[in-house]
């Protein structure tokens, strides 16, 4: 027996678009396909022109390693997203979260403790949950906090910092607080589906029914053979995998370029002032595109060289925002919402790190 869900702040259900394919509607008159072609041509030209250079070796190894590490999680997330799309109803999803928006944000920020997946797997799942009526603000809280507030990240951070649980607590605590704050502000500034591309929940190049978006809930409420439902779930999974995957590739490539060009020692020499060190390490986190289970070891390599606050800035911002995540976010939120999220993340993380620097201060071992 289903229950009627009445959130304290009503949001409109995602508007179903007409039959025009979402891909065509979003690309008509857009420069993005042309930019994509230019990028593709440049990236394909590199192996032909620079294959024997040492820099190309670093670029290629780094690029492929980022993609190979993330792609299995995107594939897994896409399959989970497809299952959610076909087998999980809106009412069931709505029943999982607290009815009121603010508690839902706080609860969503802790979901990583139960479902510790990396940020790449979270993206396709979150997109499908948005289509099921999960408030965008709760999705933001999960997106930002999930890759940090989880037991795997806590464990890897503890190992990297030789059992210094203060670092673990600061990383998880500040990460959670920033994620919740960003979600609360987004909730105020972008009610309902205002932050989503085309003002509706992502269909993501959805093609299984030959239309830009299908009334899936209606279609899937009807009894269908289980094989057909399974095939539809996999249909969605293929769409999501290819759609999200393209952003991963672009983000990973630019991250590999950054790793090939940037000398970390030069950053250390620039970072004499703590505020500058924090800013530089936050920038490095965005450029390096490391997974949140491994970035602690990179941050720990700066121990004794940079302040703890700078290392923490790297550890907190990186899982929330890097080049590949930025590319994936832009696949389903408006530029204005994306810009707002980025600004909030940067300001809040920087402010938190300056507070840590002023209270704890110095270079801790």
């Amino acid at each position: 027996m289903s229950q009627t869900v009445t959130p304290s702040r009503t949001i409109p259900l995602p508007v179903q678009a007409g039959p025009a394919p979402a891909l065509a509607a979003s690309s008509r008159g857009s420069v993005w396909p042309l930019l994509g072609l230019v990028f593709l041509a440049a990236a394909l030209a590199l192996p032909l022109t620079s294959r024997d250079s040492a820099a190309f070796g670093t670029l290629s190894t780094t690029f492929v390693s980022i993609v190979l590490e993330a792609m299995p999680f995107i594939a897994l997330g896409a399959i989970l997203g497809g299952i959610i799309e076909v087998y999980v109803s809106r009412e069931r999803v709505a029943a999982l979260l607290p009815k009121r928006r603010v508690p839902a944000i706080f609860a969503a920020g802790l979901l990583g403790l139960l479902i510790p997946v990396c940020e790449c797997a979270i993206i396709p799942v979150t997109r499908r949950l948005l289509g099921k009526g999960v408030p965008f603000s709760a999705a933001v809280a999960y997106l930002l906090a999930g890759p940090i507030v989880n037991p795997l990240v806590a464990a890897s951070t503890a190992v990297a910092y030789a059992g210094d649980w203060l670092v673990v607590a600061l990383r998880l605590g500040v990460g959670y607080a920033v994620a919740v704050c960003v979600a609360m502000v987004i909730d105020r500034l972008f009610p309902g589906t205002a932050a989503l591309l085309d003002g509706r929940a992502p269909a993501g190049g959805h093609e299984c029914c030959g239309a830009g978006s299908c009334s899936h809930d209606q279609a899937h409420q009807e009894p269908r053979p289980s094989r057909e439902r399974l095939m539809r779930a996999l249909d969605h999974a293929v769409d999501d995998f290819l759609y999200v995957g393209q952003f991963l590739v672009v983000g990973a490539f630019f991250a590999a370029v950054a790793q090939t060009l940037i000398e970390r020692q030069a950053l250390v020499e620039l970072a004499e002032i703590p505020a500058l060190a924090i800013g530089l390490m936050m920038g490095l986190a965005v450029l390096l595109n490391l997974c949140s289970e491994a970035d602690a070891f990179v941050a720990a390599s700066f121990r004794g060289v940079l302040p703890l606050a700078a290392q923490l800035g790297f550890l907190v911002l990186g899982p929330m925002l890097d080049l590949k995540l930025a590319a994936m976010y832009l696949g389903f939120v408006t530029k204005r919402a994306f810009g707002t999220m980025v600004l909030l993340m940067i300001v809040l993380v920087f402010a938190a790190m300056m507070a840590i620097q002023l209270t704890l201060g110095g270079t801790l071992p």
Binding site: P21, L23, S27, P33, L34, G36, L40, L44, P47, R51, A54, G57, T58, S60, T61, F63, V64, S65, I66, V67, L68, E69, P72, A75, L76, A78, G82, A160, G205, C208, G210, M231, A233, L234, D235, A237, V238, F241, L242, G245, Q246, V249, V250, A255, A256, Q259, E263, R264, Q265, V268, L288, N289, L290, C291, E293, A294, D295, F297, V298, V305
Partner: protein, 249 residues
């Protein structure tokens, strides 16, 4: 682009990924990218194979027509990593990455290194038969202070730095947690005869006495070499912070 053509191209991309992941696993080439994470590659292979099943479960002619440019770009982007796997055969990171990722100056002193004034008490200096102790470079970096004065043998890649004093080179490797993107250099300074005999990025095995030296205000490991032997690159080029201490090479 018609739905049929679109579906064929999508299937081709997914099948290409399945083949690539299977080859990486079977050949061991994945070690250049994700040295310990073969289960992750296996998971990716399984999930991608499931997606291929899903795609072939759809009738070729079903689906949406769409702009050819958008489809082409998307599928081209998905193929890009596979092109790079083929174009740049799997090889580990080298001195170029070392230069980009090193932090701290203890490996590149501007002045000649100073010898440790009094070696720390030696614990288990050598094996029972007088054989040198086998250590990875990570062990060397982490344990240098407590086993200074010990005779050890270790392996790594050669790095020549113009700022090093004559008769010195750097021995380095990378420590990887998940993938090559998070690789962090580990290394030690080596004092040896004719360092110019060894080319940049050559793999060598160095036997000698481990000391601790203070360079540019920071402590670092110094290996005074008895002998330096060129070796082939090991199967597992990367170290891991979770590795147990080495007992043999």
């Amino acid at each position: 682009m018609s739905p049929t053509v679109a579906n064929i191209l999508r299937a081709a991309v997914l099948v290409a990924w399945v083949v690539a992941l299977a080859w990486l696993l079977q050949s061991g080439a994945y070690k250049a990218y994700l040295p310990k994470l073969w289960p992750l590659i296996a998971m990716g292979l399984a999930c991608t194979a499931i997606l291929v099943v899903g795609l072939f479960g759809r009738a070729l002619r079903s689906g949406a027509a769409g702009e050819g440019v958008v489809r082409t770009v998307r599928l081209g982007l998905m193929m890009l990593p596979l092109v790079y796997i083929v174009a740049a055969p799997a090889q580990g990171l080298d001195s170029h990455a070392f230069e980009r990722r090193r932090v701290g100056d203890q490996l590149a002193p501007a002045t000649p290194p100073k010898q440790a004034e009094a070696p720390a008490p030696v614990a288990a200096a050598t094996g029972a038969s007088g054989e040198p102790r086998v250590l990875t470079l990570m062990d060397v970096q982490q344990m240098a202070r407590e086993i200074a004065g010990t005779r050890i043998v270790t392996e790594g890649m050669v790095y020549h730095d113009a700022k090093l004093p004559p008769g010195h080179l750097v021995l380095f490797r990378f420590s990887v947690t998940c993938c090559a993107a998070d690789a962090v250099p580990v290394g030690a300074l080596v004092k040896c005869d004719e360092p110019a005999r060894y080319k940049q990025d050559d793999w060598v095995r160095v036997t000698g006495e481990l000391q601790v030296t203070k360079l540019e205000g920071q402590e670092g490991a110094l290996l005074v070499a008895e002998k330096v032997d060129p070796i082939a690159a090991p199967t597992d080029e990367y170290l891991s912070p979770f590795d147990a201490p080495a007992s043999e090479f």
